[in-house]
Each structure stands twice: as structure tokens, then as C-alpha cells.
Assembly symmetry: C2
Homo-oligomer: 341 residues x 2
């Protein structure tokens, strides 16, 4: 099969890879219908994170059709169209049952399999894959693919930030996750949603997803603007979808005492001052999103055409042109790149 | 009146101070029945925190009888026996109504008044003071005084840590707040409570308050013990009642993914690693406890003799001997010192 490998920062190649095979009776093999490039793939691409191996298979977002199942797999069948997420999970352990499948005691990282490819092995298939109600219409595939990570992650951020009726939600980060955090906050009933963005095209998408206010300022000036919009108190809920020191500080300072910060940008070189955090009075929750918790609900919302998260993909390329997709995301000429397989 | 002043680290004196007077129509004056020394008073005593002024009036825990009220005070009357806490609050602003009175937009620190004294001015009296159902029996006074801070703070920590039925709660810190966090977790219905303590007398009190297990190890060894007791997963809920780098790390690492850490030790020189926190999957909430939120319930529990938090006071001295009380707490010969007035 063909698959994407990263050899070094900036060096992404599509090449022949061995077809995956069933290794455990709980595995499934899927044929990808579509895959995509994640903001987190840019960390190693930019040299900000070491490669785990050289070359490294890439990709952890996926939708596709089951082609083979291990002897113990019962919840999905060959031919099912399925959605999964970036950590596999048994969905039966105590951590999973509490809704934290991304921390499952048997989790495995899908990134190790590399779903920017024609085929992929999915460990823990029963607890990881969710079948759609039937074969999806072609135009639903981008949205189902979004559910695999960026929508699920933005949704978790909104839930972690306690977004809901009567709440003002501020969103730090206007990438795909931040934008879909806006969509999630809107779906969860937020009263007003402040998007922090200085890019006209992303502001437009933010408004389309439900943002009621746009704040272009960053850092303490951005915080001051959020306070102006919230009677000087700060937002009830803040979604952090970047992962830098500046974005975390902006998020925490934008929340009111007793407010919630849901952070899903993978923290890089972030150090939180305990004294400031203590007196902020906020609740901080985040980490790798337990997307599996939300998949059944998200798939249904997409299936019923109540949400259209797939519009975050603003560039579609064939898998063979993956390198151009990485370049586009790195240079911010695209927000999110879908790869057709 | 007589009152405690700190002149410098280690230098505490009881001296004549001007009687407080009504300054605002929302003030009340109370005659203290009892007051006490707080673990946080030890920070400046040990030179770990600068004095705000020199000399500085001390004390922020108080119970007593209202002797005078300002023209606008309606909720308490002269003669009422009242309990308040370390931040005054209007109890009507949006932050108060959300239960975060310690962050009230009109809050004032009672520490600035100094309640280690015969009399004290209480700003925002209507939103700060809670009257007991009648004049309390003498033996209830220590428990009512505990409600003013250490019980209210331990209770908030347990609530912030999401303690409740079916939960395993670990408690880092065996001072008065940590011990009363155990009492709170028990009252909230926790299934098992792990006290982290290496002092025999405090272990005994911990068991009396509801601890089911004692862990003497600290740091990563303590974390390993908590994991042993929780099927390798970590506690559902962790109370942090110290405020150091080591105690915060111990608390976060003792919690399972999806678990909650309630931290109420005032953070001193604490810096949290963003990457570790991200992948821990815990929820972190804490800060200065909104004791006012809990006071009506706590007073009732004490009044009905369902809880006896006053036993944390293991040394009682007259106000005039406050300096000896500071020495005893500094040298850990006493857990918590009550000063009779």
C-alpha cells in the first residue's frame, strides 16, 4: 500500500509500505476512505518535537471500511463504515467507563500505525471503532473524518470548559480545533461565544459556527477585551486550543473566578505559575480528548445533517500529494488538509 | 482593645490597639469569642512571605457576638452570634451567586482587620456573617471557629476534588485543613479515604475523621502506594492542603486520569509542568476557599452535633499568650492553636 512517512523535519514522502495485517485477535484492518493532516503533525514537521522513529509513519485521523477483523472482534463487521480516534481503547476498563478512553489502561497510539495511508490496523477494534448507521453519502465523509479528532477534541474542550446555556465562552486558537470548539459550544447551548482570531477567513468560519464576538487582540490586550465583553468578570468558559505558554496564560486570565478552562492544545514548553493559578479560582481540565466518549453522538449529529464540521477542510489533495498538504498547513495557506485515498 | 501584631518574622506581640469603629454603613463590629492561628500565618512568621505593613495586625478566623451594625446592615443584629470567613463578600454579585464568594467583586481581606483581637470590624457584614440558630453552648465554639476557615477550606477542597459516594479520596497534607478535608470527604460519602501522614497523633485524628488507609511515604513513593491501593489507577479525588511544589506534584500524580485534584494550600514557589499536567488528564480546581458558600450547612452540622471539627485545636491559650501559640505551631508541637478572648 501507499503511505506517508516523515524522514526529518520538513521531509515528508509518500511511499510503498507493507500492508498491515491482523496481529491480535482484537485488531481490525480498515481501508481508508479519507484521512488528514493534524495540527499536531506540524510539531515534528517544524522540528519542535522529536520523531519517535526514522522514518515515521504519519497520521492518526481516519474513516473507512472494515476489510478484516480478528477472531475476538464482535462490535464491527467487515464492510462497516467506521470512525475511530487517535488512541485506541478497550472501552470497558474503569477509566473508559468514566469517559476517559484516551487514557484507557490498554490504549495504544494510532499514530504508531500511521493512518495517512491506504490501509490501517486498528488495535482494540471493539472499543475504538464506531460504525455509522450505513454507508455514508460522499459529502458526509469530511465531517465524519472531522469527528475522528478535531471535532471530538473541540467538543471535549467545550465540555471541559463547562460550556452550556447561559454561558459566555471564549475560544483561544482559531485552528480547526478552536473553530470546532465554537461549533461545540454553540451546540451545547452557550449564550455567547467570543472567538479570538486575527484571520479574516477564520473569523468568517467562526461566525458561521456560532461566534457572536471576535477579539483580534492577543495576550493581556486580548484578556482586557474579553473582560470588556463580560462586565469586567471574564468568560465563564474558555477553550484553549493552541498549547503554548502565551495561549495558556491568555486562556486562564480570560476566565472569571469560578470559571472553567478546557485546554486541548498539546502543551509545549508550558509552565504554569502556581500562585497565579491559585488566586485565579478557575477550574483547569484538558489533555488528550477522549473522543470515543463523544463519537456516537457526533456521528448521529453529522448523519442527521445537524452539524457540518467538515467545512474546516479548506484544501483537499490526493494522498500522493501529502507533502504539499504539510507545506500548506505549515505556511498557514490551509487550515486543515483532507487527503483522499 | 488588645490585639496581636507581627513586627517581623518570629516577632509576634500582643498590645493595645485602637478599638475598631464602623467606617461604612455595611460594616459590623463583633466582640470575638475565640480566634486562632492559621497555617498561613506561619508563612510571614517564617519569613517566607513579606509583611504587608509593619507592624501587621494578625488573624482572619473569627466567631463572636455582634456589638454594633452600620445603617445598611439587615441580615445580622446586635447580639447575634456569628461566623464569618477570611474574605468579606457582598454575596449578591454574579461571582458570589455562582458560589465563589472568596472572589467577590467587593471582597476585602479580613486579614487587614486582624481578628486575633478582642474586637473586629467586618466589612460587607450582610454578605459575610452567618448567625447561628442561637447562642451556642461553650463546647461548640471551637467547632464554629473551625468553620470560619480550616473546616470551610477542607470542605471546599473535598468538593473541588469531587469527593462523593463510590470515590477513593487521597489527602496530601495532615495539617488542620487536610484533616478536615478527610472529615468533609467522609461527610460527602467517600468510599475510602487515604490520609498521607507520618505523624502518629495526626494519623489518629485522620482515622477518627474517617480515613480508611494511611500512607506514610511521600513524593513518588507515596504516589506508588496510592496506586497500589487503587488497582494501579490512582485516586478519584485528591485533596492538596500544603502548597509546595512537592505536594502539588504528589497530588497530581496520585490522581487517576479523569480524576480531580482540589488544592487549597496557598501555592508558594509552585510551577506546574504543562506537558505533564496535559497528559495526566486530571481536573485541577482550588484557590482561596469560598467558605461563605458552605457556612450555613457547616454551622447546622455543628449545631446538630453531627460533626466535631473543633477537635483539631490541640492547644488553647489566652489571647495574651499568642506568641507562644505561634511558636508551638511553627515547631509543630501543636496542629492548631485556639486563642480565647
Amino acid at each position: 500500500m501507499r503511505g506517508v512517512m516523515m524522514y526529518a523535519p520538513g521531509d515528508v514522502r509518500v511511499e510503498d509500505r507493507a500492508d498491515p495485517v491482523i496481529l491480535e485477535p482484537t485488531d481490525a484492518i480498515i481501508r481508508l476512505s479519507a484521512t488528514c493532516i493534524c495540527g499536531s503533525d506540524l510539531w515534528p514537521y517544524r522540528g519542535a518535537e522529536e520523531l519517535q522513529e526514522t522514518p515515521q509513519p504519519m497520521g492518526h485521523e481516519y474513516v473507512g471500511v472494515v476489510t478484516e477483523i480478528g477472531a475476538d472482534v464482535k462490535n464491527v463487521a467487515v464492510g462497516d463504515f467506521v470512525v475511530g480516534s487517535f488512541f485506541t481503547s478497550d472501552n470497558t476498563c474503569e477509566i473508559c467507563r468514566a469517559g476517559y478512553q484516551s487514557h484507557c489502561v490498554h490504549r495504544t497510539p494510532i499514530g504508531a500505525e500511521g493512518t495517512q495511508a491506504e490501509l490501517a490496523r486498528i488495535p482494540n477494534a471493539d472499543g475504538t471503532l464506531v460504525a455509522t448507521p450505513g454507508q455514508p453519502d460522499e459529502d458526509l465523509i469530511p465531517s465524519l473524518l472531522a469527528a475522528s479528532d478535531v471535532l471530538g477534541t473541540g467538543w471535549f474542550a467545550a465540555v471541559a470548559a463547562n460550556a452550556g446555556p447561559g454561558k459566555t465562552v471564549a475560544v483561544v486558537g482559531d485552528g480547526a480545533v478552536g473553530l470546532l470548539g465554537i461549533l461545540a459550544a454553540k451546540q451545547l447551548g452557550a449564550e455567547s461565544i467570543i472567538a479570538m482570531s486575527r484571520h479574516a477567513d477564520r473569523q468568517e468560519l467562526a461566525r458561521q459556527f456560532g461566534a457572536t464576538d471576535i477579539v483580534e487582540e492577543r495576550g493581556d490586550e486580548g484578556v482586557a477585551k474579553v473582560k470588556e465583553l463580560t462586565d469586567g468578570l471574564g468568560a465563564h468558559s474558555v477553550i484553549e486550543a493552541v498549547g503554548t505558554q502565551a495561549s495558556m496564560e491568555q486562556a486562564i486570565r480570560s476566565a472569571r473566578p469560578g470559571g472553567h478552562v478546557g485546554y486541548v492544545g498539546v502543551s509545549h514548553d508550558v509552565s504554569l505559575d502556581g500562585f497565579e493559578l491559585f488566586f485565579s479560582g478557575v477550574t483547569l481540565h484538558g489533555g488528550p480528548a477522549p473522543v470515543r466518549r463523544f463519537l456516537p453522538e457526533l456521528i448521529q449529529l453529522i448523519w442527521d445533517r445537524k452539524i457540518d464540521p467538515g467545512v474546516v477542510f479548506d484544501l483537499t489533495l490526493p494522498l500522493e500529494q501529502a507533502a504539499a498538504g504539510y507545506t500548506a498547513m505549515d505556511q498557514r495557506t490551509a487550515t486543515k488538509v483532507l487527503l483522499t485515498v
